[in-house]
Amino acid sequence: MTQTTSAPPATLSPSAPQAAPTGPQSSPAPTNSRQGAVRAWFDGTPGRMRALLILAAVVAVLFGAAAAQGFRQSEGALQRAEENTAQLVRIQAIHTNLVSANANATNAFLVGGLEPPAQRQQFVDSMSTAAKLISEAATAQPADQEALGALNATLLTYQGLIEQARANNRQGLPIGSQYLKDASASLQTDSLPLVNALVEANEERVATEFNNVGNGNVWLYLAGLATLIVLGLTLYWLARKTHRYLNVPIAAAAVLVLLTMLVGGTSLANASGAAKDTRGDAYADTLALSRARIAAYDAKSNESLTLIARGSGAAFEEAWKKSSGTVDDQLAVAAGSAPDLQSKWSVYKKVHTDIRESDDDGNWDKAVGQAIGTSDQTSNVAFNEFDKQSSQNLSGASDTTRAELKDARDGLPPIAWLGLPIGIAAALLITWGMSQRLEEYR
């Protein structure tokens, strides 16, 4: 099996090393006569016809395969854009839930004594929603699994610290507030950078897929043009050789290829255009709204931390201003999907300004009352309004994005499936057309 010695084996290979002279008429050895037959088959005009037939048929089948590939690529890109958008929204929901949980935990600590049960419930709900979303996200995108696993690990630490803070607080031990501070710091320095990396990676994936939607056309056009040229040359050569103007079956094959190219190309261009619109519209709004929500929760957390710091919170107030600026910027981008959101945010900003005024005047207790008190003008109330409204707007925008992408995909003709059969049909037409001429040489 392994040897390559000089013993002449009963090889079928025409390229055996000890192959005899290559002239067609030189040797009557079985191998050579076989080679001679092949040569004879391609000899003369009928031979060239046969060669052309094979070339044109192969090119036609390849065209079919390329068209199918182009469509699969575009359809795949659309589907993956949709899936990655879903993943991005999921990751941002994780982010929102985490900062919301942290805002609730820090907020609860502003009150002396026990935290309000409703607030504790909100914390628990946010954390369990985040946990569910993390496992969903890990299933949906295997590439995110490692980062999500790391995120999970940091959240265990975070939640452990929060529970220790709570237990100490329950016993009236001041050390509880240190645990709370550490918990908040671990979320900021360990968990959120992971979430940000996930958001970045998924935004990039969505962008890549949006860009890929139009690329399917390259396959279709390149293969289509090559096929048309081959078929055109074939027709021209046949017309000259056989003195018949048109070989109808081959011309039909060319028309079939041309039609596939035109119909496919137009529909791919349409889908690509639709995807572009979605990207500039619903998807941009989705991104802006989720960024606004994350920044808003961050601001709310910082408001509580400023109050908890009791006069040493200048850095937290700076962070509040930065986050609040981000909210304004993003809301301006998403104004189309969420026209009345800005006014809700402005109401909250006004309450925040009042809180800062009270606190800066030395009236800390009043400031805390304005933040978490029982009146209906507190920052908690104003923020909840914004939260509810923005959450609705966000799910609206993200649903629209996905629906539009799905429509674009559903609108594509089934060339991904029909491509190869079309190519084969064209090849058959070519074979048919060519054999009509070959008949004449029998």
């Binding site: 025409p14 390229s15 094979i54 192969v58 390849l62 395969a65 390329a66 590939q69 699969r72 690529q73 795949g76 890109a77 993956r80 899936e83 502003l110 009150v111 002396g112 004594g113 995108q141 590439a143 995110d144 699994q145 490692e146 980062a147 790391a150 100490n168 607080n169 009236g172 031990l173 001041p174 050390i175 509880g176 507030s177 240190q178 645990y179 550490d182 360990d190 950078p193 992971l194 940000n196 990396a197 996930l198 990676a201 998924n202 994936r205 890929n212 710091a309 009791r310 006069g311 040493s312 800066d360 030395g362 800390w364």
Partner: protein, 329 residues
């Protein structure tokens, strides 16, 4: 044969192209966490004086509340409507936030309230004194007092500051209001540990920017110092097993041991003397004199003793108010 291999190659290429368009993405990169280099504690400040405890002698009796001399620092504080004080919120019994009420309370806070009451008059029963308590960390104590004097700046710091020569160059101190000493807190089952000398090569926590940190390095340079911004930060590290002990003032350690039944303060004489003073701005000498007057009154009329008995007596035993030393000019 060649044609066949050409076709096979093309097909292979096609499949490769298909595969590269599939959903196999690079794994999301994990953010690289930069670990800050272990902070080398600065060299202990030079203590080149012999009269650190000397403060300014009060100018006669205190002015009546709400009648501060015109143009004085106290008059400015009165005009601002409240005394702004930098305090700790996590040193149990000195200055800590009571989780049940949300109020900051302790021995240090009583001192602040007394100063405020001397300016604004004793508040009606049930009313708080006119103070704004700002929670500051240990390294912030001197910078907040050196900051520009303007309404709302911190007037006075009561956050267990040790009086020493190096700090006198930056801020001014009242007369001593409590004599503390540095001790060591370890886990209650560490029976073989008698002093810092037994902890060579082990991690021990002290607040950043404190004399406790300097003293620990001086007492045993082989101990691995770990710092936290606050006393509570050290206790958390201790409870998480990241340090084997905490060193600090006996007052602070008593508060920490009270929050953790598995911690004990080693009952050896303190290895340093830590005289506490209230910190003030260096240039507001009139205010320092005024505060010294208030402290002298408190020590004389028993308010000092009442406050001590309430906060520190149970953990630290009996003590008398330290005698003031004046004579700085």
């Amino acid at each position: 044969m060649n044609k066949k291999s050409l076709i096979a190659g093309t097909l292979a290429l096609l499949f490769a192209a298909t595969a590269c368009g599939s959903s196999a993405y690079d794994a999301t990169p994990l953010p690289v966490k930069e670990t800050p280099p272990a902070a080398k504690p600065a060299a202990p400040a030079v203590q080149d004086c012999t009269n650190a405890l000397q403060s300014y002698l009060p100018d006669g009796p205190l002015p009546a509340p709400n009648a501060m001399p015109a143009g004085s620092t106290m008059a400015k504080i009165a005009a601002h409507g409240r005394l702004v004080a930098g305090v700790s919120a996590d040193s149990l019994n000195l200055g800590s936030r009571n989780p049940l009420t949300g109020k900051i309370e302790g021995f240090d806070i009583d001192m602040i309230n007394a100063v405020a009451d001397a300016i604004f008059g004793t508040p009606a029963p049930g009313q708080p004194s006119k103070v704004e308590l700002r929670v500051i960390s240990s390294p912030q104590r001197l910078p907040v007092l050196k900051a520009e004097r303007k309404p709302g700046a911190i007037d006075i710091v009561a956050r267990n500051i040790t009086i020493n020569c190096a700090r006198w160059k930056e801020i001014a101190f009242s007369a001593e209001y409590y004599r503390s000493g540095q001790k060591l807190l370890v886990q209650s089952d560490m029976t073989t540990v008698k002093s810092l000398d037994d902890l060579s090569g082990q991690k021990v926590c002290a607040p950043a920017g404190s004399t406790s940190l300097d003293n620990m390095i001086k007492a045993n340079p082989k101990v691995v110092p770990v710092t936290a911004d606050t006393d509570g930060g050290c206790l958390v590290l201790f409870q998480q097993g990241k340090v084997v002990g905490i060193t600090g003032d006996d007052t602070v350690l008593a508060g920490e041991a009270a929050q953790d039944p598995y911690a004990k303060v080693i009952q050896a004489p303190p290895f340093s003397q830590e005289p506490y003073g209230l910190g003030m701005n260096k240039d507001q000498v009139d205010f320092v004199k005024f505060v010294n007057g208030v402290l002298a009154e408190m020590k004389a009329d028993g308010r000092w003793q009442i406050s001590y008995n309430k906060w520190l007596l149970p953990a630290l035993g009996k003590a008398k108010p330290p005698a003031p030393v004046y004579g700085r000019s």
